[in-house]
């Protein structure tokens, strides 16, 4: 497909997404869609490391939690003292004006994103020297440690959690507000990642995935690229976390913010389901995952976890490359790969003889 053809598709998709809240039949599902955008953000940000660079991180949830707490704390400390807030938060007395709410939210999300980048840079320079399983296990530990630290820190509510301010009525219903907030975030993230993957950065991290030693030997500053990649991932994940705290309203240190066993694992699953290392794979994987999960929760009540487990098995068995990876293997021309028909036939006939 040529460039302008693709452009048309993007524009149509964007308009379609923007119009969803206007369709009466879909209005009850806006928060559901907001969660879907969050899932897509999870998968996309994870794929920077796990897919494009081949570094399986189980600790990305740290950035999500950092962003969430930073945002909530900024929102709180801008207008209240800790004591005051603990006694009124969430109810009518803590009602903020729309300007106050938006200021707090955007400043908070910004702070969270900066903080996450700092955390990623510091941690990355320390542990991105590790490779393969060692890196994966190390990051797993990070997520758990962060949750435990947050559980013990009274300033951010410790184990009792932290309640974020309620959306002021003047800003409309929760549905459209969070729908658009996360949609914009997801679209920006997608565009930035697409741009990054298309350039030198993309080539560099792909090279690291394919053969880090060779890339290093060719003069590529592998650790620097790896750290930047983690910072990019952390930046967008922290923004997501900041907004997510406001969507869920109640921040629990281990079950919402540093929720390794749920969100932390899902982001890996979704990217793999859709096809890791592809641009659209995480988006498609997250969509399929979220929809099936919601349906299992409704129609297979009590068996949802079993069904989800089966789905994962099915994916691993039938689509080891993920949905997009499978499509790409089947119809490589559609993905812009040049196929030498002659060579393919030879290969197929060889396989047939074997």
């Amino acid at each position: 497909m040529n460039g302008s053809g693709k452009m048309v598709i993007y524009v149509v998709a964007a308009i379609a997404a923007l119009l969803i809240p206007q369709v009466p039949m879909l209005q009850p599902y806006l928060i559901q869609f907001a969660f879907l955008w969050v899932m897509i953000l999870f998968a996309m940000t994870w794929d920077v490391m796990g897919g494009q660079m081949g570094y399986n991180s189980f600790g990305n949830i740290v950035f999500f939690g950092v962003g969430m707490y930073a945002t909530a704390v900024v929102q709180r400390d801008l207008y209240f003292t800790v004591e005051e807030y603990a006694n009124v938060a969430g109810g009518e007395q803590a009602a903020l004006t729309p300007v106050e709410y938006l200021t707090g939210l955007s400043l908070g999300m910004g702070t969270g994103a900066v903080l996450a980048v700092v955390v990623a840079a510091v941690l990355g320079s320390g542990i991105l020297g590790l490779r393969g399983h060692y890196f994966a296990i190390c990051t797993l530990g990070l997520g758990i440690a962060a949750g435990e630290l947050a559980s013990g820190w009274d300033y951010i509510g410790a184990g009792s959690g932290l309640v974020t301010p309620l959306l002021p009525d003047a800003l409309g219903e929760r549905g459209p507000f969070f729908f658009y907030l996360f949609l914009v975030l997801a679209v920006i993230t997608f565009a930035v990642l697409k741009r990054l993957y298309a350039g030198q950065f993309g080539l560099a991290i792909n090279a690291i995935r394919d053969d880090e030693d060779k890339a290093d030997a060719l003069g590529l500053h592998a650790t620097r690229y790896k750290t930047v990649a983690w910072c990019v991932s952390g930046f967008f994940l922290a923004l997501t976390g900041g907004a997510f705290g406001n969507l869920v309203i109640f921040i629990d240190p281990t079950d919402v913010a540093f929720a390794g066993p749920t969100f932390g694992v899902w982001m890996v699953l979704m990217a793999i389901l859709g096809g890791k290392g592809t641009l659209w794979g995480p988006v498609i994987g997250a969509t399929v995952f979220h929809i099936t999960q919601e349906l299992f929760w409704t129609y297979l009540f009590g068996w949802q976890r079993v069904a989800l487990g089966l789905l994962i098995v099915v994916v691993v068995v039938f689509f080891p490359l993920g949905i997009v990876g499978w499509l790409r293997e089947r119809w490589p021309q559609r993905f812009g790969e040049v196929v030498d028909e002659e060579a393919r036939r030879v290969q197929v006939s060889l396989e047939g003889e074997r």
């Binding site: 928060i31 969430g90 410790a158 959690g161 749920t262």
Partner: protein, 413 residues
């Protein structure tokens, strides 16, 4: 054949999405059925209590429907509850509250299990102005936020173990000693409910100027508290207070028994829900248990009769003695029934006002809400396990037996 299966796996979610859209937006009242909504913990760390909560709701629905249903504006309606599984995580709870309200059109909510889940759902129901009657979120922090649509039939968590501290002080005074010399050990799960209990116990300890010698935060999913018990052996406190839902109760009683830790007074929450007597037999003896309700109390209502009748009916239906978590859940449904009948309408604001004006007696106790939505008409009860039986020892009005204090040492049992 696999070649044809693959596209099917891709089409499946798409078809399923279409199906789910078709089933959306039910009304709050369907024909002659009033639909209540609840997100409960059927899986995850709270699943034991999630089951108690559901059984409590279901028994109430069954009984009310058998007795002619709910009369609203001269017409009789049946009750029904729509459930979802919140998996014991607040993120899911908030999402499900939203889903119940927006997708399923639920206008009448029942509470989830635990303070944490209630804290996650209450802001959502509040935002949409959907009244929620709950029986399992006891944290005080739920009732200082100015929520107008949240009503709780239970006593808040600072009251859970206050009576134990007072009892210890009385015993010490009676023995001619100074309560200020008492050493107190706390081991509390790091979650909203137990941390709130901790705050309450600390307040009470302060009024008697007791010394807090151990103040441990325990992890969620509590399976081992050896570290705390080792400290207890070394520091020999006079009172050990533990709170950590059902898992915490079972762990505490089991390890006290296994490690033969002696302490003069041992008070916990969730004895009944964890079935410590059934699990540990005589090992659970002399434990003090905070309870919202006891089946020996004399409250009654027209649906279930007196408390013992409820206990009998529940046991017949589900095969175990109802823990208070089930009783308070049943009571939540009864509060809805009463409010619906008094309001005589399905108007949300009228219903909210009717709920706020609730003043009834149920088998579970008297229910009257203050302006923050918590029940102020019912006391907490403290029971001691004596010979495998739960005996009420405080407050004095309900006490059936005398407290055995101090606990006999393990070597003397």
């Amino acid at each position: 054949m696999f070649r044809y299966l693959k596209p099917a796996f891709i089409l499946l979610p798409a078809a399923a999405l279409a199906m789910s859209l078709a089933g959306a937006a039910q009304a709050k009242v369907e024909g002659d059925t009033i639909v209540l909504g609840a997100a409960l913990s059927f899986t995850g760390k709270y699943k034991t209590n999630g089951k108690h909560t559901k059984n409590g709701y279901e028994l109430a629905v069954k009984k009310v429907n058998e007795m002619g249903g709910v009369k609203v504006g001269g017409k009789s309606y049946k009750l029904k509850v729509v459930y979802y599984d919140d998996e014991s995580t607040p993120a899911r709870g908030a999402q499900l509250a939203e889903r119940l309200i927006k997708q399923d059109g639920i206008q009448f909510m029942l509470g989830p299990y635990s303070s944490g889940l209630t804290k996650a759902m209450a802001p959502v129901t509040e935002k949409y102005k959907i009244p929620m009657v709950e029986g399992n979120g006891a944290s005080r922090s739920l009732f200082n936020k100015g929520y107008k649509y949240l009503f709780a039939v239970l006593s808040t968590s600072e009251q859970y173990l206050a009576e134990a501290i007072n009892l210890a002080a009385q015993q010490t005074l009676a023995a001619g000693k100074d309560p200020a010399d008492l050493k107190l050990a706390l081991a509390m799960e790091n979650d909203p409910f137990s941390q709130d209990i901790r705050a309450g116990v600390l307040d009470d300890a302060q009024t008697h100027s007791m010394n807090v010698v151990i103040d441990d935060k325990l992890p969620k999913e509590l399976n081992d508290m050896t570290v705390t018990l080792t400290k207890v052996r070394a520091l020999k406190p006079d009172i050990l207070v533990v709170s950590g839902h059902s898992k915490g109760a079972a762990t505490a009683v089991r390890q006290m028994m296994e490690q033969k830790v002696d302490v003069p007074m041992f008070a916990i929450t969730h004895c009944e829900a964890a079935d410590v007597v059934g699990k540990f037999g005589p090992g659970a003896d002399y434990t003090l248990c905070a309870t919202q309700w006891a089946e020996t109390m004399t409250y009654k209502d027209k649906y279930f009769g007196a408390a013992p009748d409820y206990a009998k009916l529940f046991e017949k239906e589900y095969g175990y003695v109802p823990p208070y978590q089930a009783a308070e859940s049943t009571a939540s449904v009864l509060v809805w029934v009463d409010a619906l009948q008094r309001a005589g309408s399905f108007d949300r604001e009228k219903l909210r006002d009717a709920l706020a004006a609730t003043e009834i007696q149920t088998f579970y106790g008297n229910i009257k809400f203050d302006e923050t939505g918590k029940n102020i008409a019912k006391p907490m009860v403290l029971r001691q396990i004596q010979g495998g039986q739960y005996k009420v020892v405080a407050p004095t009005k309900w006490a059936s037996d005398k407290l055995i204090h101090p606990r006999p040492k393990w070597s003397e049992r």
